[in-house]
Amino acid sequence: MTAYREVVVRTPLALKVLPVVSVATFFIAWEIIVRTGVVPDTMLAAPSTVTQLLFDKFTNVDPDGALLHQHAWISIQEAFGGYFLALAVGLPLGLAMGWFNVAEGLARPIFEIIRPIPPVAWIPLTIFWFGIGLPGKIFIIWLGGLVPCVINAYVGVKMTNPTLIQMARTYGASDWQIFRQLCIPSALPMVFGALQIALACCWTNLVAAELLAADAGLGFMITMGRRLAMPEMVVLGMFMVGLTGAFIGVIIDKVEKRLLAGIRR
């Protein structure tokens, strides 16, 4: 019998080089378009201008009232507060709805009614209830992140291979054992998908919430940029939202690869 051993698979060269090329081209083209006046600088800021503002905003509170990392920190708190609450409620709810008829019967109709309402539509009520502080924004972000968590976890459990369930049943496994040992691991790839999707939803809603009701945060910075006619501030705010989101996405991806060894190659 041949020996079994682990094999290291190398990343193809194209996937190493091309991302760098693509990002560099993108920024250079952008810089040229603005510098040459194809797009006037009252409508879009060049990357160099944005970079200048980036360094400036670390020490200068004007004109929007806070330093860049203070805005970012407030946004991160809001986003992660809502995000983790969404995971904590949405994933167990979705998993349970996928396996236990009682959970599905009770929660499904209410969920289906709440699901199509965009989180932004909750903003007026939220302001009545919580004002414009942190809890209100966390609530909006939570609503946005909840939906993908529930749906993905639910679908993930429903996709459990029925033969595996039969196999467990013949060994005398209880409903709870099957749920814990088969359904949850089966749903994990979908759950990790939910982590990414929910995060995207949370960031999106974060900006929406801050645009409408805030006195600090990256979304607020974008709004201020508009009010003060400073496209570089708008771009900087957008860029920070994108960068932070991508960074968290990478972390989730790493965790996923480690936890899901065997399910995905």
Partner: protein
């Protein structure tokens, strides 16, 4: 190895009937299996072989009749029933070893016993080398051997197999069938083996039950009293094989 004085009855199936609405699939089936016996079940395609196994494993409630194991009604929680399915049923997030241990874990056996038995079984089926690999790193036939090992590991009162080697090539089949017979002789389990391959049935079983077309009943019973390892060119082997083939053909 099975001597003339047959051991006591292990499984008793009494008037087993299964209907899906109007459709009568299993028609009043009764038979018994002795402790440690290896019985093969053959029948024409679509005769309800899988329904038959599903009823025996209690996955499907029977419409009438009952299945007794050691004189008490079969219950997956109380009895050790194992079922090897046609398709591979490895849990992709568990290593080979953890997969083989799964049945014992469900049954809440102590960890020390699991470890001991695991070493023994993995050694028997030659899976020791790949014990720490995940199912997607090994071949399909290996995955099926995991399912067979997992089934034997719980020391089953009744081991049901539904064409476990149906999708493998002929050479590998003979190899795995030898391995199966070997496991069965060493671990002394009671095995019910379903197949549509008559040669396979004659090769592994001590007794063959031939099923009729739907509504299914047991049409005939054929004893296979050949020495092991069996030779499928042996005239007696061929005679039994042809006899069973005729039984299936002439309904």
């Amino acid at each position: 190895m099975q001597d003339a004085a047959r051991p006591r009855t292990k499984i008793e199936v009494c008037n087993l009937t299964k209907r899906f609405g109007e459709l009568l699939v299993l028609n009043d089936i009764s038979f018994s299996v002795a402790e440690g016996e290896f019985v093969a079940i053959v029948g024409p395609t679509g005769c309800g072989k899988t329904t038959f196994l599903n009823a025996l494993s209690c996955l499907l409630p029977a419409s009438a009749g009952q299945i007794l194991i050691d004189g008490t009604p079969a219950d997956p929680k109380r009895h050790n029933i194992s079922y090897v399915f046609q398709e591979p049923t490895c849990l992709p997030w568990r290593t080979v070893r953890e997969n083989v241990a799964y049945g014992m874990e469900v049954k809440g056996r102590p960890q020390r016993e699991i470890d001991e038995r695991m070493d023994n079984i993995l050694e028997l089926v030659g899976l020791t080398q790949c014990a720490n690999l995940y199912p997607n790193q090994i071949s399909a036939s290996m995955q099926q051997r995991i399912a067979v090992s997992r089934a034997f590991a719980v020391d089953p009162d009744l081991l049901l197999m539904d064409e476990p080697y149906g999708q493998l090539d002929v050479k590998l089949r003979f190899y795995l069938e030898d391995e199966l017979v070997n496991l069965w002789r060493k671990l002394k389990s009671t095995v019910l083996f379903i197949t549509h391959n008559i040669e396979e049935a004659v090769y592994v079983a001590e007794r063959i039950l031939v099923l009729s077309n739907k509504p299914t009943r047991i049409k005939a019973e054929v004893k296979v009293d050949l020495p092991r390892p069996r030779d499928f060119m042996d005239p007696e082997f061929v005679r039994i094989r042809e006899h069973v083939t005729d039984l299936i053909r002439w309904w």
